[in-house]
Assembly symmetry: C3
């Protein structure tokens, strides 16, 4: 089932630089239905790479915003009634318009109604699903104490017809056929709220300019991981790190990606 | 129709320093009905200059908060049902109390229901309307491809009996009779979410201490533009720039305003 | 009624270092029902000290999140209908589960309905109530021009069976029997939005690992005050200060607490 990644791993830094360059030139519009905690940082990550975020969740506007966007982010954190209605409308529009969308099932491990809803969304063919290990287990139906391996992840990706971006100390990206592992990043990324959510926003921007969802997902996670490493070099803690990762994403250079990428 | 701006342009830096000094001394309360993305940054901009922000949108509280405030901000980003109700109540209270208020019709170019609603608000005599060029065209009824000139802007201001603060690489402020152009600012301002929204908050604070809405609007935009230039001198990208512009607004000195102002 | 604080004041720095060390090791989950303005900064303060924030206010999820948490924060800023419903559910669950919770009656001095609601919550035995002087007067039923003294504060704490953490240029902590005064902090803390709200979040994290609510409250306020002093040493204004206080909380050392604590 797994095609040998081979040159893909070697080339990911270059591919990522190309994807980011396209984001900067094309300035894709990314409509984000995301939690209130994450909205500002997600918008700032998107602006830092040159994309144009919008965030409305009002039922009578979300269709127009989604139809006018180049990609959609559906994040389930702070999941209230109004956001749920907005999600329904936005995914319908995205599906009609052939717009790629990202599912970020935040904290589904903490709320069974949320996990159940996330499963229905995962069945609606998101271009990519970005989540951490605990969230993956909840959405894919594993017990909390289970330790699903790479094969389980690939099987789930095939099942959803989606790309899975599993983030953590090491990130794994798979579409079921191809799997790569990204070892970049910094521990401070876990000490800034909405870092994962904002990564999903970046992923949506990459999907807007790269048709191969697997490459778009891998590019987004590599860019964020390398930016985190760059930011950590001057950060004194999570506050300066949060500002620093925006600075790093804004100025992320091809040679820094190539030099730092640790992809297997 | 246009009075020659003459000494006004020359004096704007001094006027701005005076307005900011009054904000610092009087600590005006600014009630902000604004989008969730912009709330924290807007509050921080207001606190940085010495104003006191409040942000509730609950229907049974917004009247008391508005009545107790010295100015009101109505921002249409993330425009949901609850905010719409809050806007109605707040504008009614502001009108009764003679409180100045600012309209910020965020992204009206992306949603026709929002543009239609913004038009009804613009007719209710806001002290000032701050918006970018695309938003101006949507709210004033121009086609997206139209290129309205200064005369169109002045005509619209006269029509609304309001001051228009059109922001972009160059800012234009007009009340129909007087028009000035502010060339200050930095490109990084466009890479920080809610910069425009926060500018509208700053404008509301200036309206609270300066009865001439034209001067208040010009002062707010000059202060923000100069603070952006100061921040860009030490920023490494949009993250450190966002923190830096708050630092710069907090400590903005009269001589820096005079030295840097580029007003025509 | 007042036990002489004596060695308590001397030992608070050490106690605070111990409490923070427990937070870092145990990583308590803190569910926060808080205003939209404060959510991101509160989450970042909690992450900075090693706690795990969650923020949902959706009625069908808040019970699960609260039941799975180690402490609860109830903040009344941006007080809308959905948050009110969430508060009811969350406090009920917290009471059933014996979970400590913090009441932060933001801006009750600006809205009588909010003050009335805060009084009903204060009667439901929060572990601690953190508020400023104007908010204390509104919630405890003093006139705005009254100047309640320490005895009034102690009486109110006894009345609520709660610890009161009164913050301002000088912080006062009392449970009615014990009272201490913390003189740490920096004026820039008042120029960053949600600093008080985030302090209440930190207090909830401390309650999760310290059964003596009086000590937990004093520890949280001392930690925040000292972190503010550390941040002010390198800050250039409120923007860099906000990042700096997160950095300082993340790396707050025992000897810095001991060296800087000014507790009476």
């Amino acid at each position: 089932m797994h095609a040998p990644p081979g040159h893909l791993a070697n080339d990911l830094a270059t591919i990522t630089a190309d994807v980011l360059a396209r984001v900067r030139v094309r300035a894709p519009r990314v409509h984000c239905i995301t939690n209130a905690v994450a909205q500002a940082f997600t918008a700032n990550v998107l602006l830092a790479v040159g994309a144009i975020p919008s965030m409305t969740i009002a039922a009578d506007e979300v269709a127009a915003f989604t139809a006018g966007a180049n990609a959609l982010l559906v994040n389930l954190g702070t999941f209230d009634a109004e956001r749920r209605e907005a999600v329904e409308i936005a995914i319908e529009v995205a599906t009609e318009e052939g717009l790629p969308w990202v599912l970020d099932p935040v904290f589904v491990n903490r709320s069974e109604p949320r996990a159940a809803y996330a499963r229905t969304l995962a069945a609606r063919k998101p271009g990519a699903i970005r989540l951490n290990r605990a969230e993956f287990k909840a959405v894919a139906g594993f017990e909390p104490e289970a330790e699903p391996d790479g094969a389980a992840l690939s099987a789930y990706a095939l099942d959803c017809l989606s790309v899975i971006g599993l983030t953590g100390p090491v990130d794994v990206v798979t579409d079921g056929a191809r799997t790569i592992t990204i070892e970049n990043g910094d521990p401070l990324m876990a000490s800034v709220t909405a870092m994962g959510c904002a990564g999903s926003g970046l992923l949506a921007a990459c999907l807007a300019v790269e048709n191969d969802s697997f490459l778009a997902t891998a590019a987004a996670l590599l860019a964020l991981g390398v930016a985190g490493e760059v930011a950590s070099m001057t950060a004194h803690g999570p506050g300066s790190f949060a500002a620093g990762i925006l600075d790093a994403l804004h100025g992320l250079k091809r040679d820094v990606l190539i030099q730092r990428a640790r992809v297997v």
